[in-house]
Subunit: 278 residues, 2 copies
């Protein structure tokens, strides 16, 4: 036996499993109630124009564009430009170095669009259902096909670096105003701002802010500010800060109120979360 | 956050890394000196006719056919039918339930042939070299592409069950005579046969047997018999048999001779091999 070198394959992206995997057509007036969750989500635009909000950014996805929502990024989706948005959506848990820099929206080159369309056709062949887990219900009975589809999803995401261009975000006045509100919130995570104080900082009236939030977000202004604080809390706790330090850094004078808010967001109290992650 | 079900992805085939990955054209009179090794090898025929021996079986691969050699299967390769064999070859280590039933030769359907050809074109794009690790030397500098290629290899092998047909083996008199010799060896692993005794059992002269071995195998008759015994030794030791039991079951009256033969094949003595696998 000759001595031969071994070239190990490092997985830059490893998808461990899926939560949802489906195709959807949305009516012209469709508005998806926004959501955020503790896993990744990919929205690939197959047809029509899809409006997407992802935290403070607003994107307009046209066929061949996709959005990647990192865990805990609040996102919402709607049809735009009088079209019916047609999308392929999947959400997953995974690991690997690629995920570090992934997020936002991308425009795929022709070759990569072909790969997404091939993937979509392959999914359709194996029988599509309308529910959020439609493809998964079929695939879980066909493990070889499930792995093959997973491998193709990984490949399409791996290709983004070479064959995808970051998509510019929507620069309309509304979108920029909305972005300014969120950015102001992010700069003030250690403060307790009222809606009126936030409005003063942004140069917007409370009623305009509420209108923008109804449009681009599914949460109330105060509720969203709290959501951003909790996302920061996750980061601080993972960094090793104590629960007390974290509550103080985020402007909570009452630690029990902080714990309640954290549990509502993360389904566990901060002390346990910290223990489990360290 | 809604409660959502998680659908984990079970990997039926996980390629951990590669030893070789290359394309090759062989002259009409090419004869590859056979080999066996402790990892998997795939030979996909891109053009011409490729003769393949894999243990006792002789195959004729035409474009779109492939052979999969399990670890320790002795194999040899040559051009046939006055053509220049053109092949894509890779060898790997991996795990997963798929590997259990994999081995031998297959004919791929048109769709799967397209997938192999796409894979080959993609490899060529990233620069081909003639050495056995040609593609790997490039890919190891491009980890995203290495993972993508690996995922596609996995997918093509996963597809064999649905899109591949086991290939009938060569039924020429020579091939069948050769097969009979190996099968007789396999039935007599517990005996010590001389070449003449083997010939009597097969109804072949020692000189015909030697000719067949020169054609389909790179080892001598006695040497190959020993190789088959060592493959069986691996199985017995992995099953939990002691070194003494194993030596006896394979007709070795001298345990130290058994250990020497085993070390030559597996690069470690049987006692250590057994310890490492149990």
């Amino acid at each position: 036996m000759n001595i031969v070198l071994f070239y190990p394959v490092e997985r830059l992206l490893h998808i461990c499993g899926f939560y949802t995997f489906f195709e959807s057509y949305y009516a012209e007036d469709f508005y998806f109630e926004g959501e955020h969750h503790n896993f990744w989500e990919v929205v690939y635009c197959l047809g029509g124009t899809t409006g997407i909000s992802a935290d403070e950014k607003i994107y307009r996805l046209r066929p061949g564009d996709l959005a990647i929502h990192r865990p805990l990024v609040h996102h919402k989706l709607w049809s735009e430009e009088s079209t019916r948005a047609h999308v392929l959506i999947f959400s997953f848990n995974g690991d690997g170095a690629l995920l570090k820099g992934l997020g936002g929206a991308y425009s795929c080159d022709m070759e990569l669009q072909k790969q997404w369309n091939d993937l979509f056709c392959r999914l359709k062949e194996s029988g599509c259902r309308s529910s959020c887990t439609g493809f998964l219900q079929h695939l879980q009975k066909h493990p070889a096909e499930l792995q093959a589809i997973t491998n193709l999803c990984e490949n399409n995401l791996l290709a983004l670096k070479e064959q995808g261009l970051p998509l510019g975000y929507n620069q309309s006045k509304n979108a920029l105003d909305y972005e300014r509100i969120i950015q102001t919130m992010k700069r003030n995570l250690s403060n307790n701002l009222t809606v009126e104080e936030l409005g003063l900082l942004c140069g917007l009236s409370a009623s305009s802010m509420k209108k923008l939030f109804r449009h681009f977000n599914s949460m109330g202004i105060h509720e969203y500010f709290l959501h951003l604080k909790m996302k920061e809390a996750v980061r601080l706790l993972e960094e090793g800060k104590t629960v007390t330090e974290t509550a103080e850094l985020l402007g909570f004078s009452n630690q029990s109120y902080f714990s309640t808010a954290f549990k509502r967001e993360m389904n566990e109290i901060p002390a346990r979360f910290r223990r489990n992650r360290s």
